[in-house]
């Protein structure tokens, strides 16, 4: 939106090519694009869509292997849009879901320390719940459902590992398998039952509550840095032992039916290049996929997040990748789980019913 326009303006300045920008919801694009493609039409020359969607629709997409070099980007990123050795999409910046955010001033005020083990994490939660004014240590955002699915995925990644995570995405692992059950039974559900997670509340409203001190921790994506008054007071830590994070970069592609393939490729090259991505990250809230973007180009808070990512594996968001009915069911079931943690086994069964 507003932060994207400067990048486009820089492109126009550099190349003289004018760009018009429109916003659609990805779900709606997923509905109308197939029909348009069948008729040999496309609503734009460069389109941003989910990686898995790009990979599934390569018949209608231009090969951009000539402008994208996988080595320029974080390992694993370009693979998501590579089919049969050809590259069909270009990575842009994205948002990471690094962990639990807290106010540094709050922690200092109450002598709290970032936990390094699970036991310390539990103790931290216990300590926080005793602090007056705290309704629940962890704020639970609500809305469509992704705030809850994000924190759940963090638990799965940390205690199940990337292979299990991938298995859940492609369907080779069942939600009712022992490993997954163990994660819920031993880690997530006890915290829910102990009341460490708050009642779900609209995620933007509960952000205010959290900032004011009604909650101490808030699991959120890196865009949170642009949503608080004082970003330098922000600290973040991940679940002890986390080695992988959900990193959802935006991907763009060029439909075959564009009337300006050369210009479109120019734009894609610029946007995914270090120059374009740097302009975006400088504004805060975005993390680059291009390895040419330097740590110092990040605003202070984002730098900490970027550092967390160093050496870690990036995975795609689980429910976004599977999509469809699974995603809506996943979200809906998690909302249920949050208020009825005792029925976690039914919840897992219901999720499995719609899983790939």
């Amino acid at each position: 939106m507003e932060s994207f326009t400067p990048v486009l303006e820089a492109f126009t300045e550099k190349t003289g090519i004018e760009v018009e920008y429109r916003i659609y919801r990805a779900e709606d694009l997923a509905t109308i694009l197939p029909a348009q493609f069948e008729s040999g039409m496309a609503p734009a020359d460069v389109i941003f869509m989910w990686a898995w969607w790009i990979a599934n629709n390569t018949d209608h997409i231009l090969d951009v292997s000539d402008v994208i070099n996988p080595d320029d980007f974080m390992p694993g990123t370009v693979d998501q849009v590579t089919v049969d050795g050809k590259i069909y999409g270009a990575p842009y910046t994205g948002k990471v879901k690094p962990g639990f955010w807290y106010r540094i001033s709050f922690f200092e005020e109450h002598n709290l320390e970032v936990p390094t083990t699970w036991a310390e994490f539990e103790t931290l939660l216990e300590t926080i719940s005793e602090i007056p004014g705290i309704e629940a240590p962890i704020a639970s955002g609500d809305g469509v459902g992704w705030p809850l699915s994000d924190v759940t995925e963090h638990f799965i990644l940390t205690f199940g590992g990337t292979e299990l995570f991938q298995g859940l995405i492609d369907g080779s692992v069942s939600w009712t398998s022992d490993e997954v059950k163990a994660i819920f039974r031993d880690k997530l559900v006890p915290l829910l039952k102990a009341g460490y997670f708050s009642e779900p509340k609209d995620w933007t409203l509960i952000l205010e509550d959290w900032w004011e001190g009604t909650h101490a921790l808030y699991f959120m994506g890196s865009w949170i840095t642009g949503m608080v008054d004082n970003a330098s007071d922000l600290g973040v830590f991940s679940l002890p032992g986390a080695e992988a994070f959900v990193f959802g970069p935006d991907f763009m592609f060029i439909p075959k039916y564009t009337e300006y393939p050369a210009e479109a490729k120019e734009l894609v090259k610029f946007l995914s290049g270090a120059e374009g991505q740097t302009i975006q990250v400088k504004q805060g809230g975005h993390i680059a996929t291009n390895l040419g973007v330097k740590l110092d180009d990040y605003p202070e808070v984002d730098k900490r997040v970027a550092q967390l990512l160093e050496g870690a594996t990036a995975v795609t968001d689980l429910d976004d990748t599977v999509g469809g009915e699974f995603q809506t069911t996943f979200w809906d079931q998690l909302k249920y789980l949050w208020v009825h943690p005792d029925e976690w086994e039914d919840v897992l069964a219901n999720i499995e019913a719609k899983a790939p």
């Binding site: 916003i23 509905t31 029909a35 008729s39 409203l205």
Partner: protein, 277 residues
């Protein structure tokens, strides 16, 4: 006297009804005109009271789903989808009222049963038809669907109304050599002004208030109608209460004004075709 007491009681109860029933609207209004910080714990707190229009501005100019555009879209679609079906339905209704022809009853019955149809029963094929005709995500597509969908009930209503018109006037004109169409246009329609006003007001409101058909057909942000924007504001874009309530007021105010202005016709429209007389 018993009479007086029961009247007083009736008035008090009536007042209570009014107060209780308007509370939801008052609540929305209160949140719409006050900054969110003041109402986070309930709008009934009046410690601070700084009425403002900023929420309305925010709703109208929301970055990803501006209501201003939505209101305009709704207005265009509702206006076009109100005139067309009324005229087409009037023609058909007149036929049912005045002419007899084979399969008349069956045709009429079929059309009437369409009124009760759930929109879900036509959703999938309608979607495909729209894509095949190139009308998906267009005003024209939505207007056509609303026109078709509005026809059954408007036909029923107008047919019942035409039946109450004195046939002698039309017969006299026929004796004078007027064609059916001339009789319809010059005599019947002018006599039907009240009924036409009723159906027009109701149809406009019905289209304005629609959500499902728009959900089915309209996708691009610049074409979304007001009701869609409101739901997206709440669901997808998590607009907090202030802009959301302001948006709700803006969306509801149009049909409320129509109701206020056309009240007599509006109510007759709702009740008229359903109850005799």
């Amino acid at each position: 006297m018993k009479g007086k007491v029961s009247t007083v009681v009736a008035h008090v109860v009536a007042l209570l009804i009014g107060v209780v029933w308007i509370l939801p609207v008052v609540s929305i209004f209160m949140v719409a005109i006050r900054p969110i910080r003041e109402v986070l714990h309930g709008w009934w707190n009046f410690k601070e009271f700084h009425p403002t229009l900023e929420n309305f501005v925010e709703a109208l100019n929301h970055p990803t789903t501006p209501l201003g555009r939505g209101l305009l879209n709704s207005f265009i679609i509702a206006s076009l989808a109100m005139i067309t079906p009324v005229f087409i339905a009037a023609l058909a209704a007149y036929t049912f009222a005045r002419f007899s022809f084979p399969v008349k009853t069956y045709l009429f019955l079929t059309i009437i049963i369409m009124m009760a149809m759930p929109q879900q029963m036509v959703a999938i094929p309608l979607f495909r038809i729209m894509i095949n005709l190139g009308l998906i995500n267009t005003y024209l597509g939505l207007i056509l669907v609303h026109t078709a969908w509005g026809l059954p009930w408007i036909i029923l209503f107008l047919r019942n109304f035409f039946l109450t018109l004195p046939i002698e006037v039309e017969e006299a004109a026929r004796v004078d050599g007027a064609s059916d169409f001339q009789i319809f246009l010059r005599i019947v329609l002018p006599m039907s002004l009240p009924a036409l006003l009723s159906v027009t007001a109701l149809q406009f409101t019905w289209v304005w208030n629609d959500f499902f058909l728009a959900l089915l057909i309209i996708y691009s942000p610049d074409k979304l109608v007001a009701t869609q924007r409101l739901v997206w504001m709440k669901g997808k874009y998590h607009t907090p209460w202030d802009a959301l309530c302001a948006g709700a007021i803006l969306v509801m105010i149009v049909p409320v004004i129509i109701y206020a202005v056309f009240q007599k016709y509006y109510v007759k429209g709702m009740v008229g075709w359903v109850i005799k007389g």
